[in-house]
């Protein structure tokens, strides 16, 4: 096949794609698809970047919103109250799918990009996390607990919102930086990128990031969970040995 014909064939294949849809093409990349938690881990700085290519003839200016979500878990939120002069846990409520990590970065404040309904559908903000409450409690109380959870995790650096976190250059290339603190949960993280114009989500793409404990740290956790008895013996042996060695060393000196 001559090069000229190959190019023509390729164009013939791609052309309908470009012309038929008025949707932009989103090409996302992640700086690391694997984050290793090992000794000395103080957190990771994740770079999410890529390009958004407008279809021909479109004059849309795109906004980019990136949502990075950690593995979800079922949690119980407890609320402290003053009982007989002492602050102790009183009311509680359960959420079946609280993400262990949730970060939203956008090129402008999300409120200026989409309306509240769209933001809620795509979970574009910590106010819109779908927590799946369980049990029968009135919605007002649920909202209070959800707010408490978000506020707590925001202070721990686990829930983040950065309305200027995405930089778009030349209307095509975008990049976002998201900080993972050292207290992140391990597991599979998903990074969703949305290209938005005229208040509508026009394209989205997903990338996976694996956060794993490796090396000594990985083995310590695995041992504590799987071989609890041996792990306990190890902890006892370590403390006995260290106490004994120190006693001997200083007794002579």
């Amino acid at each position: 096949m001559r090069p000229g014909r190959a190019a023509a064939l390729l164009l013939a294949c791609v052309a309908p794609l470009l012309m038929a849809q008025a949707e932009p093409i989103l090409v996302p990349e992640v700086s690391q698809s694997r984050i290793e938690v090992r000794q000395g881990f103080t957190g990771a700085n994740l770079l999410l970047y890529g390009a958004v290519i407008a279809p021909p003839g479109s004059r849309d200016k795109y906004d980019i919103v990136v949502v990075l979500k950690g593995p979800t878990e079922a949690v119980r939120i407890r609320e402290k109250d003053r009982i007989a002069g002492i602050w102790m846990n009183a009311a509680a409520t359960d959420f079946r799918s609280a993400p262990s990590f949730f970060a939203v970065a956008s090129s402008r404040p999300v409120r200026e990009i989409v309306d509240e309904r769209t933001a809620a559908i795509y979970e574009l903000g910590t106010d819109f996390i779908q927590l799946s409450p369980s049990g029968q409690i009135d919605p007002e109380e649920q909202a209070r607990f959800a707010k408490g959870l978000v506020e707590l995790r925001r202070r721990q650096g686990l829930y983040q919102e950065d309305p200027k976190g995405v930089r778009i250059s030349a209307g095509v290339l975008y990049q976002a930086r998201i900080n993972l603190p050292s207290n992140v949960t391990t597991g599979r993280y998903t990074a969703e990128t949305f290209a938005i114009a005229r208040g509508r989500v026009l394209a989205s793409a997903t990338a996976q990031i694996e956060v794993e404990k490796v090396g000594l740290e990985g083995s310590v956790v695995a041992a504590a969970q799987r071989w609890s008895f041996v792990y306990g013996l190890g902890a006892i042996a370590l403390s006995l040995a260290m106490g004994w060695v120190a006693g001997r060393l200083f007794a002579r000196g």
Binding site: Q39, R76, I77, F145, F229, G232, S239, G243
Partner: protein, 305 residues
């Protein structure tokens, strides 16, 4: 120096943890107490989850008491018979403690119970020690002669218990139920609070059991050594909250600190030392009482289901 703690699941300044271990080590060298009562609350203040703090502190106390037991056994300062009875009680107590821990955890009240127990325990022990220390200091300050030494004898309640055994090293003929129950109570505290319970055991052995003074510290260390070992294992099997990296850092600090503490103890006057310990214990109790009464920074807590 950043160190990642795999079980606590966060990164801490390793130097800080070693220093904290060192501080409790100095105390243990100075006063002959394990120092767990200081480690657990300070770790919690630092942001370590309470369960991990209590479990890892228990591991640290094991290491801190090893050299003490060896030293005391060399000069016949351990009543093994009494110690073994108390260890038996301690093991039962640790198991009861584990059940209580689980129950309180599921009720969501473990943290407040830990705090209240600390306030009660430290407050009462601190007040007792303070009274005794001031009483011992007053004659020397006012130039009077020391008050007559109280005759050693056990509490009437202990005498009423059946099945008496002879404990030669302690110079006692009492029911083994008394040390068994004492060991059990301390075992429960060890499991819940991560403390060795030395500063609870020593006065109880002196004033309730009426043991002879030269075996009190050695026997208490002997009981603490074994009960903290059992506690570490119980935590490893049930809460899975023993953080080896955290425990190793604490141990490093405390075994070194203990040597400095022993050096200082040789030079300082024991009455002033006891006064200082009493003041420290009362200070921590007051801080924790204050913590219970004021509105905490975090109203909400999250626990996985």
């Amino acid at each position: 120096m950043d160190v990642y703690l795999p079980i606590a699941n966060l990164s801490v300044n390793g130097l800080y943890i070693v220093l904290l271990g060192g501080l409790t080590g100095i105390l243990s060298g100075l006063f002959g107490v394990g120092g767990g009562f200081l480690t657990t609350p300070l770790l919690i203040f630092y942001g370590i989850p309470p369960t991990v703090a209590a479990a890892s502190a228990a591991t640290q106390v094991t290491g801190a008491s090893v050299s003490g037991v060896i030293a005391h056994s060399r000069r016949n300062g351990v009543d093994y018979r009494m110690g073994t009875v108390m260890v038996g009680g301690g093991v039962i107590g640790a198991l009861i403690g584990a059940v209580l821990f689980r129950l309180l955890q599921s009720l969501g009240q473990i943290d407040v119970v830990i705090n209240i127990l600390y306030v009660l325990m430290l407050g009462s022990i601190g007040a007792l020690m303070m009274r005794e220390a001031i009483g011992a200091l007053r004659p020397s300050l006012l130039g009077q002669s020391a008050p007559p030494v109280r005759k050693r004898r056990h509490h009437p309640l202990v005498a009423s218990l059946p099945y008496r055994w002879r404990f030669y090293a302690s110079g006692l003929y009492i029911s083994p139920l008394a040390p068994l129950i004492l060991g059990m109570l301390v075992g429960i505290l060890t499991m819940l609070l991560g403390v060795g319970g030395g500063f609870l055991l020593v006065p109880a052995m002196l004033y309730i059991l009426g043991m002879s003074g030269n075996v009190v510290v050695g026997t208490s260390l002997y009981q603490i050594l074994f009960v903290t070992m059992v506690t570490t294992m119980t935590h490893a099997l049930t809460t899975k909250a023993v953080d080896l990296v955290l425990a190793a850092l604490l141990l490093l600090g405390s075994v070194l600190g203990a040597q400095f503490g022993t050096q200082i103890a040789l030079k300082a006057k024991p009455e002033y030392l006891r006064l200082a310990l009493a003041a420290l214990v009362l200070l921590i109790a007051l801080r924790m009482l204050y913590g219970l009464g004021v509105q905490p920074d975090e109203i909400y807590t999250v626990t996985p289901l």
